[in-house]
């Protein structure tokens, strides 16, 4: 291999590697997120291009913070589809809640040791959010998901 790939061992990977990966993905993601509007319009929810950009920007920060890499289509459109029919989501809090849900999602992918698939984690989040959390992001993050992650880490998650 030439000098463009300086090393082969895991611990010495080029620092730019992760930034590069995230940048590549962002190009395609904007259109995908905006296309969700067609579906969410029936629930009175809509993202402007600026909102979508803001959410994608926050995804970038979240991924960096949680030290994760996302390939292909991101999780945002899945989150939008899953949560758009929530009785606790309105146009006024839509962007803010989606931003927080996205951040929580990545956090708990790590906290659950990647034991749950994306769909499983989103399903749990939605159940908690609409159920015992009654739309409270703080309760979702600090209580429900914390307990779920604890159970998974202890191996006592029964589902």
């Amino acid at each position: 291999m030439g000098s463009c790939i300086p090393v082969r061992r895991e611990g010495r990977m080029d620092k730019d590697f992760f930034g590069l990966m995230i940048k590549e993905q962002q190009k395609q993601e904007l259109q995908k997120v905006l296309s969700c509007n067609q579906n969410t319009a029936q629930f009175g929810l809509k993202l402007s291009e600026r909102d979508a950009m803001e959410l994608l920007q926050s995804r970038k920060t979240d991924l960096k913070e949680q030290e994760r890499i996302e390939f292909g289509e991101g999780i945002l459109s899945k989150l939008i589809y899953a949560f758009c029919d929530s009785p606790y989501l309105f146009q006024d809090n839509y962007v803010e809640v989606m931003e927080q849900l996205q951040s929580i999602f990545y956090e708990y992918k790590n906290e659950t040791l990647d034991e749950l698939t994306d769909d499983e984690l989103i399903e749990r989040m939605k159940d908690y959010f609409d159920g015992e959390c009654q739309g409270s992001i703080e309760f979702l993050e600090e209580t429900c998901l914390e307990m779920l992650a604890g159970d998974i880490r202890r191996g006592s998650e029964d589902e």
Binding site: R8, M21, E67, I69, F71, K109, D118
Partner: protein
């Protein structure tokens, strides 16, 4: 030699990531991404390095796109695993461990576990084992199947050397070296045997017996006394030739391999002469 940019490899890493998560997770932790990128780089390096049988691109060293290089490299890795397995099966057919637990654990238990758990697709750079039993030729700098393959070649060569000696002679030598050698001997058996074999040549004793009698040490000492390390090395070279000729005919590969030990051997003799403890080298 191929020369790819990091971004050329990203699509391959992305595909690997999908396979790794069975398409059930859109993101992976940095740690896993590093692992997958290292897997891709490892396979491409393997492609660059190897003339793999049955891999036409590799044999012709063609400049190819990264995905082709990666896939050909993967096949090279698999091919190497098969070659390593053939070598191992040949070794394991009749493999005296001389009661040395470290050797037994590493080769008879560790290596089969390697073949069971080695992950060509996602972690070809990880050879899983610490390979605690040392070989004369170091495998430092190698990883994945490269390390295991070279290690097995080393073991095969060393056991070619050791098989010329009766098992009881080697066991007796190890026992003299260290009474609890079964559990405590962590060194290379070949090196220990070689040293006493050289002692036997100098003292004119039967080489295969590996036994030196009282008084032989004086003869050995007189052979090396007053010589610099470099001169000791020069003395050892023909002695090793004698042993190889005596027991293995014209095996130049074995001869070259065994001679890797000369610098360490010369240092040990030099230090032993200075400290008046030659009996620790020639047991």
């Amino acid at each position: 030699m191929n020369n790819y940019k990091m971004e050329d490899l990203l699509p391959i890493v992305a595909d690997l990531s999908k396979q790794y998560t069975c398409n059930e997770s859109s993101s992976i932790p940095y740690e896993k991404a590093r692992m997958l990128m290292a897997a891709v780089v490892y396979c491409i390096e393997e492609y660059d390095r190897e003339d793999c049988a049955g891999i036409p691109e590799a044999a012709m060293k063609k400049r190819v796109d990264p995905r082709t290089a990666y896939e050909a490299g993967c096949r090279c890795v698999v091919e190497k695993v098969h070659k390593a397995k053939v070598i191992y099966e040949k070794i394991a057919e009749d493999f005296p461990t001389f009661g040395c637990l470290n050797c037994k654990d590493t080769i008879l238990e560790g290596i089969p576990a390697f073949f069971l758990w080695y992950d060509v697709r996602f972690k070809p750079q990880n050879h899983l084992l610490t390979l605690d039993y040392p070989t004369l030729r170091s495998i430092r700098g190698l990883c994945g199947i490269d390390a295991i393959y070279q290690y097995l070649i080393n073991i095969e060569t060393e056991w070619t050397f050791l098989r010329a000696f009766p098992e009881h002679s080697v066991i007796s030598l190890l026992d003299r070296t260290m009474p609890d050698y079964e559990e405590l001997f962590l060194d290379n058996i070949c090196g220990a045997v070689l040293r006493n074999a050289v002692g036997c040549v100098i003292a004119d004793r039967p080489i295969t017996a590996l036994v030196l009698l009282p008084g032989d040490l004086q003869r050995i000492e007189s052979c090396f006394r007053g010589k610099s390390k470099e001169r000791i090395r020069q003395c050892l070279d023909p002695l090793l030739d004698t042993i190889i000729r005596h027991g293995y005919g014209n095996n130049t590969f074995l001869s070259e391999y065994i001679k890797i030990e000369i610098p360490d051997f010369a240092c040990a003799v030099d230090a032993a002469l200075k400290n008046n403890c030659l009996g620790k080298v020639f047991v």
